[in-house]
Symmetry: C2
Subunit: 266 residues, 2 copies
DNA sequence: CGAGCATTTGAGTCTCCTCAACCCGGGTGG
DNA sequence: CCACCCGGGTTGAGGAGACTCAAATGCTCG
């Protein structure tokens, strides 16, 4: 059925907006680099029929309980995964930034077991899951890249279980901030000390991500601030003492698998 | 480079023991069914050079920090994933039972970010990761099955984040027991009420899985027992009132994706 | 200037933790 | 055959971290 390679040229695939086309290509390139994808596989991705979409703050990208039909790649902005429990409390499960696919699980899982919302205003590139699945089925190395991405995501979930399960408020928050700072500063493996990290988080988001209440989160953040470890005000995080914060949060970046020895593929 | 199909016949692949050969084939068949794998892909899996290994209670299957060279499939017994935090406390991240691969992440991630130990005595089928990777790269539908397995695992991790993050002791334990009971009773989607579930868990395991202390876990289990909801003594769990326990634990089995609409493949 | 949201502060409470002792059944060795 | 030990379970008392409820502050935006 499927003949030859991907398709013909990336320039005919989307409607009009060349600006967003560039953005999509760039985001895919970034994703491909992180997952160690080869050039021709990247091209196959770029040839997919992405469409752009913008979501305002707190807008839903994925709704719990629905059956997904597409996958979304973040072009700009950030988003968070969340689940709501019986009494109405919310648990945030992960944060996602530019150049990340948010819902690859849509490809193979029948129903969304959680929701995803935009943290701030967010632009997305959306591709029908059938299109993505099709190319993945043709290209094993692409399938491995997807699998790899999902594995890293799983590793982060595991660390989050540990974070909310076995650390106190101070450590939980420190750990979260370490992770976010590191993931936001792409290439630098070490110590995002002193750099300003754009994080449109409210303290309530932090509370929901760490399994704490907003009030207690507030008090805990204040002590971190008073100790001169961090600055954290609306939308901006600065870590003044990376080593101290890392130690408080019991943070070890191995679980992020930022330079996993990904075996040859493609 | 890679010519033709898998290899030649499954009967020449392992040393001697026909009994364990059967066990391996059976476990793989079971896994293939769960992931919706087609017959020829299953055959390719069965042709891999698995070797058997037994691990005694609490023995390590995967060690944190090491570089994995193989993947393990549980033939009998059960295992748990765990991470240790700075102060020495342990968090259990998941439990695994027969016919499950425990460390598929070994295939693509460079270093183990957590450990896996046998819960009780455990027999494993071990395959070199390079062999697994090779066949996966040849067979896209197999890659998708691996990916699917990892996605479901990730969904379970997410629910665990919610469990330890946003539920009280009573609900956490109820939720955990619901999950374990359901996963242990394979085909039945509904209500493992009254059936005996073999679970070689100590209360300390339950505590470490739910982010509680052993003492508090003990007290909480006692109230569940006194209310006639469960029986739980060394190695045996019986759920007497499934609906009640499910309600207490805020348990919704959707996240297990037991009958996910897996798209056509293979 | 007021509305609305995020943050901050206070006071009282409760869940869950800590430390410690004790019980109990099974296995081992003298 | 009994004494002992050991791991898991149980119980008690006290304490602390985190929660709840409530109100006040500050900030941004219309």
């Amino acid at each position: 059925m499927q003949h030859g390679q991907v398709n013909n040229g990336a320039h005919s695939r989307r409607n009009s907006n060349h600006l967003s086309d560039n953005q999509i290509d760039e985001a895919l390139r970034c994703w491909a680099q992180r997952t160690g994808l080869a050039q021709n596989d990247l091209a196959a991705l770029q040839a997919l029929p992405f469409t752009c979409r913008t979501v305002e703050r707190d807008g839903f990208i994925v709704r719990e309980g629905e059956q997904p039909t597409s996958c979304s790649l973040i072009l700009s902005g950030s988003a968070f995964r969340q689940k709501v429990v019986h009494n109405g409390a919310r648990q945030i499960i992960s944060f996602h930034f530019a150049c990340e696919f948010i819902d690859l699980q849509s490809c193979l899982l029948g129903v969304n077991d959680h929701g995803v919302q935009a943290l701030g205003p967010c632009t997305l590139a959306v591709v029908p899951k059938v299109a993505l699945l099709e190319v993945v089925q043709k290209r094993p190395s692409l399938a491995l890249a997807m699998w790899f991405d999902t594995l890293v995501e799983g590793a982060i979930f595991r660390e989050w279980v540990v974070n909310v399960g076995r650390r106190n408020a101070r450590a939980r928050i420190a750990h979260l901030l370490c992770e976010l700072a590191l993931r936001q500063s792409p290439e630098t493996r070490e110590a995002p000390e002193g750099t300003i990290v754009r994080l449109p988080l409210t303290q309530e988001h932090i509370a929901d991500a760490t399994g704490l209440t907003a009030v207690h989160t507030n008090r805990t953040i204040q002590t971190l601030r008073k100790e001169g470890l961090i600055s954290l005000s609306l939308g901006r995080l600065v870590i003044h003492d990376w080593k101290a914060l890392r130690s408080i949060g019991d943070f070890n970046d191995a679980y992020l698998h930022r330079q996993a020895s990904r075996p040859q593929r493609g």
